[in-house]
Amino acid sequence: MEHKLTFKEYSEALKEDRLLGLKCQECGAITVPPRITCSKCQGTELEVVQLSGKGTIQTFTTIYVPPEGREAEAPYVVVLVELDEGPWLMGNLGGVDPTKVTMDIIGKRVKVGHAIFPGDKFSAGELVRPLFSLED
């Protein structure tokens, strides 16, 4: 079975700050990141759609003890965002002082951008990640 949207295609779009998802033609649910079937109904009639890239912070953490190779990034903020289309997406939060973020950040509106993780000996190359910023 062919993929409607591959990891590579999704990543290449995110590098242009375009967040792609899959809309199920059977139940209407949005699946993001891509899967070969609908995340709600396991349907296979999926169409690639561009998402708004906007959503609301649901939770956060500030990482102080990073994995090997990421020491220069710490401390940094990781968030789970509920996209306006429904799914949750993990990303980093930029434009804030990581040491000052509190639970007050939860519920704030954000928009997606991207950052590159250049990769390490385990990661099979460079990877792109959502980098959210607070909406004005």
Binding site: E68, E82, P87
Partner: protein, 391 residues
């Protein structure tokens, strides 16, 4: 399906970085389990080994076949299970199924890990490999980070102010260290205070060092036998009466349930259903307290307390020996240690010892039925087992 019993258990002391190899550690635990079972290595018909990281920690893939050879088990199939922190629980479940099926009468199952040896930066990196490498690790996600995200979700969902929740979580760690101090096999044999928890370094906000289990080296092993053999080998066979295992995708994909981990609820339901038992029947549980908040989440999903209420129960002492449900009398992952591939069968080790009444000052008096709960990754794998006295 035939009834299956644990007839012998063994485990090494769990420690920080030490000099033995993963094979040596496994063999130590295995020989203790074999000796307790009144069998010889030649009586074993299959080997199941949980191990997550030996490829990276020691450059050793196929650790299970080298363990088999070291033990003199060249005649058996030896297979490895990699389910992150639940590796040996997955191995245990399959081993029970193979004996229950009639394919084997006596098997050896366990786990081994030398994670502390890697040091914190590399261990943090390799543990994080059990999260979604494509879509979540690029953000720099760590395992303390996963449970830190869940802590804030928990605080919001159940309207428990973070300061209050953190005191409840600290009490979980204090309890673990209290029992760890009474377990000769534990990595940390020292009690801690609320101040110790709150004065420890921040790992992933709001989780501090004493909210987190350590990196550990160690191994554990159990011998399983079919009922007919078990009755001949042991006066105190412990029967495996319930088993469950379920799976999930990455953390964001679990959004409909968080901070609950749905795989646990599915797995526990399987285990209770197979055993024909309910949470009120369980006398003692070894559950996956990789982080203090993880205990609160687990206690609720396993059915011991209402959602959002387990922190209060911990504060009231209901999770200590003599309370409603004795939780982690071994000291749990927090104080006993967490050599990840070895953790699942080390939980079985503790439950078997508890049911046999061999736990000294950390004994849950009269325990007849015990349960294990092991989590791999960010809820990717969750396994449960229910064990019962066979005498």
């Amino acid at each position: 399906m035939r009834k299956v019993a644990v007839v012998g258990v063994g485990m090494t002391k769990f420690t920080g970085a030490q000099s033995k190899t993963a094979v040596e550690l496994f063999a130590e635990a295995a020989m203790d389990a074999i000796a307790e079972s009144n069998i010889k290595p030649r009586d074993i018909q299959a080997l199941f080994v949980g191990n997550a990281l030996s490829d990276i920690a020691e450059g050793q893939a196929q650790v299970q076949v080298f363990a088999a050879d070291y033990l003199g088990l060249d005649h058996v199939p030896a297979n490895r299970y990699e389910n992150a922190c639940a590796s040996s629980s997955a191995a245990f479940r399959d081993a029970v199924m193979w004996v229950a099926s009639g394919a084997f009468d006596i098997v050896l199952v366990g786990g081994t890990e030398t994670a502390a040896k890697m040091g914190t930066p590399l261990a943090t990196r390799t543990f994080a490999a059990a999260s979604d490498s494509r879509y979540e690790y690029p953000c720099g996600l760590t395992f303390p980070g996963v449970f830190a995200l869940l802590t804030h979700l928990y605080s919001r969902k159940y309207s428990i102010p973070l300061e209050r929740l953190k005191r409840q979580m600290a009490q979980v760690s204090i309890n673990s260290h209290y029992y760890g101090a009474r377990n000769p096999k534990a990595q940390f044999r020292k009690e801690i205070t609320m101040d110790d928890v709150f004065n420890s370094i921040m790992v992933a906000q709001p989780l501090q060092l004493y909210d987190c289990c350590p990196f550990s080296d160690g191994a554990s092993a159990v011998v399983l036998a079919c009922e007919e053999k078990a009755k001949k080998l042991s006066d105190k066979p412990v029967y495996v009466v319930g088993l469950g295992q379920a799976s999930s995708g990455n953390l964001a994909s679990q959004k409909d349930y968080l901070p609950r981990l749905i795989a646990r609820e599915l797995s526990a339901k399987q285990a209770y259903s197979m055993a024909g038992l309910s949470p009120k029947d369980i006398d003692v549980i070894e559950l996956h307290d990789c982080f203090s908040i993880a205990t609160l989440i687990a206690l609720e999903s396993l059915g011991f307390f209402e959602f959002g209420k387990s922190g209060e129960a911990v504060e009231r002492g209901e999770t200590k020996i003599g309370g409603k449900i004795a939780v982690n009398p071994s000291g749990g992952l927090k104080a006993k240690g967490h050599p990840i591939g070895a953790t699942g069968t080390a939980q079985v080790y503790e439950i078997v010892k508890q049911l046999r009444g061999e736990c000294g000052e950390r004994q849950v008096e009269g325990a007849k039925i015990g349960m294990t709960d092991t989590l791999g990754g960010d809820g990717g794998t969750i396994c449960n087992a229910i064990l019962a006295r066979g005498w």
